[in-house]
């Protein structure tokens, strides 16, 4: 077993990450910045994979490099790729420089207080982590400890995280969605007058995505269902499911997607995911346990207490997956069509 992290990989990757950050700030075209940020996310994903945090790396690859790049690009599509000139004269720049430098110094001064990477006596490694590592199989029959910690030991955190995704989706709806009946101002779609490329013109793109999308969705379901045994879970699988439908929306047409999932259905499904999670928790209360204590579900779910916990984890992961998938689709449609839900990227 080689010692992790492998510094021969990590040092060049970290240098590249810093370089990408500098490049992203210095490029004057926002589309270029979006692409550089995608590359930045991929580098972070590689660093995390090198540290052994495969679940985090997976999430970063799906969310950071994949879907959020699409979100930024569709925002640029509806606004403009050119940056306005930066405001302020020399005193303003000096002030900004001092603030940024001071913040950096404060953050860096905290580094010596951190425990060393993998330090066995640090609080995180000395108290709860050994319990998780030695008991996850006996408690919940789940070999992937991350999944047990995420959905069982720390189930409340994940419930609230899912609620945060739900709230973020509602916030984006309430900011961007245009009420066609009430809005009097004439908004003629994209501000940019440049000739835009429409991928739905191309037969090759359509056929390729027609071939890829079912496999993407199959893989996403595998990621959700197999999250007990391998890296993955509701968040990653939900993002991949959402990305597959976003691919449909981009390569065919926004109308094509909206013909199958109407706006109300999308919003309802976002709420249903959180609801499923919360109901599984309530079910445990009715069975005589604590909230989200899946072991008490064993009269309903197959198997003994430990298998019931495993199945309970699967149920809440499905809830997380539904919420994340439909929030991604809802956010993309809002951003791409400027809140009109008719046409767009």
């Amino acid at each position: 077993m080689p010692s992790l992290p492998i510094w021969q990989f990590d040092v060049p990757l970290l240098i590249l990450v810093v370089l990408f950050a500098v490049v992203a700030l210095s490029i004057r075209n926002l589309m270029g910045t979006a692409i550089v940020f995608g590359a930045y996310s991929f580098m972070m994903c590689l660093i995390w994979a090198g540290m052994g945090a495969v679940d985090v790396a997976f999430t970063e690859a799906a969310v950071g490099a994949g879907v959020s790049t699409v979100f930024i690009v569709s925002t640029i599509y509806n606004t403009s790729a050119t940056m306005p000139p930066r405001p302020g004269g020399l005193p303003f720049k000096l002030f900004i420089g001092v603030v940024v430098t001071l913040t950096g110094v404060f953050l860096l001064s905290a580094i010596p207080d951190f425990p060393k990477w993998g330090e066995p006596n640090s609080p995180a490694n000395a108290t709860v982590a050994p319990y998780y590592i030695s008991n996850t199989i006996a408690d919940a029959h789940v070999p992937n400890i991350v999944t047990t910690v995420l959905a069982d030991y720390r189930g409340f955190d994940t419930l609230l995280e899912t609620t945060v995704v739900f709230i973020a989706c509602i916030a984006i709806y309430s900011i961007l969605r245009v009420d066609e009946a009430r809005s009097k101002t004439e908004d003629s779609g994209p501000v940019d007058a440049e000739p835009h490329y429409d991928p739905s013109d191309s037969l090759i793109v359509r056929q390729a995505s027609r071939f890829m999308v079912p496999f993407m969705q199959l893989f996403a379901l595998y990621v959700i269902a197999h999250g007990h045994y391998s890296p993955g879970g509701g968040f990653q699988g939900g993002v991949i499911l959402g990305a597959s439908l976003i691919l449909v929306a981009i390569s065919f047409d926004l109308k094509f997607l909206l013909a199958q999932w109407r706006e109300k259905q999308i919003m309802l499904m976002v709420a249903w995911g959180v609801f499923l999670y919360a109901v599984v928790g309530l079910g445990c209360v009715f069975m005589g346990g604590n909230y989200l204590d899946y072991g008490f579900l064993n009269p309903v779910l197959p198997g003994e207490q430990d298998m019931a916990r495993s199945h309970g984890i699967l149920l809440v992961e499905i809830g997380v997956g539904i919420t994340v998938m439909f929030s991604m689709i809802g956010i993309h449609i809002n951003l791409a069509s400027n809140g009109h839900f008719d046409r767009g990227l």
């Binding site: 000739p195 490329y197 991928p199 191309s202 390729a208 071939f211």
Partner: protein
């Protein structure tokens, strides 16, 4: 098997080098995309084939891992040329002019 893996992976790296040189040296958008699209796809596929050779000797279940890598190869083989096509088409519609020898 390890020797075969080494040969395949180094072939892939040579193709990657060609891709990078082409990307930096070619005169216009279309020829650069040509270098990036073809070289990138082929070298990734060759490197992944090398990875299959590398893992094929490790354990009973390595064929499942090999199968997964084969599926990845399949999707790269479809996805990467499609992305190149979409970018070429977008460049064409945005009005990128092909390079001509006498014009420069």
């Amino acid at each position: 098997m390890d020797i075969l893996a080494g040969i395949l992976i180094s072939t892939g790296l040579i193709f990657f080098l060609g891709t990078t040189i082409g990307l930096l040296r070619f005169p216009d958008f279309y020829s650069r995309m040509h270098a990036a699209g073809k070289g990138d796809t082929l070298s990734t596929v060759v490197i992944l084939l090398g990875c299959i050779c590398l893992i094929s000797t490790q354990g009973d279940l390595s064929w499942i891992l090999g199968l997964k890598i084969l599926l990845i190869i399949n999707f790269i083989f479809i996805g990467s040329p499609t992305a190149t096509h979409a970018m070429m088409d977008a460049g064409n519609k945005a009005g990128a002019k092909p390079w001509k020898k006498d014009a420069d």
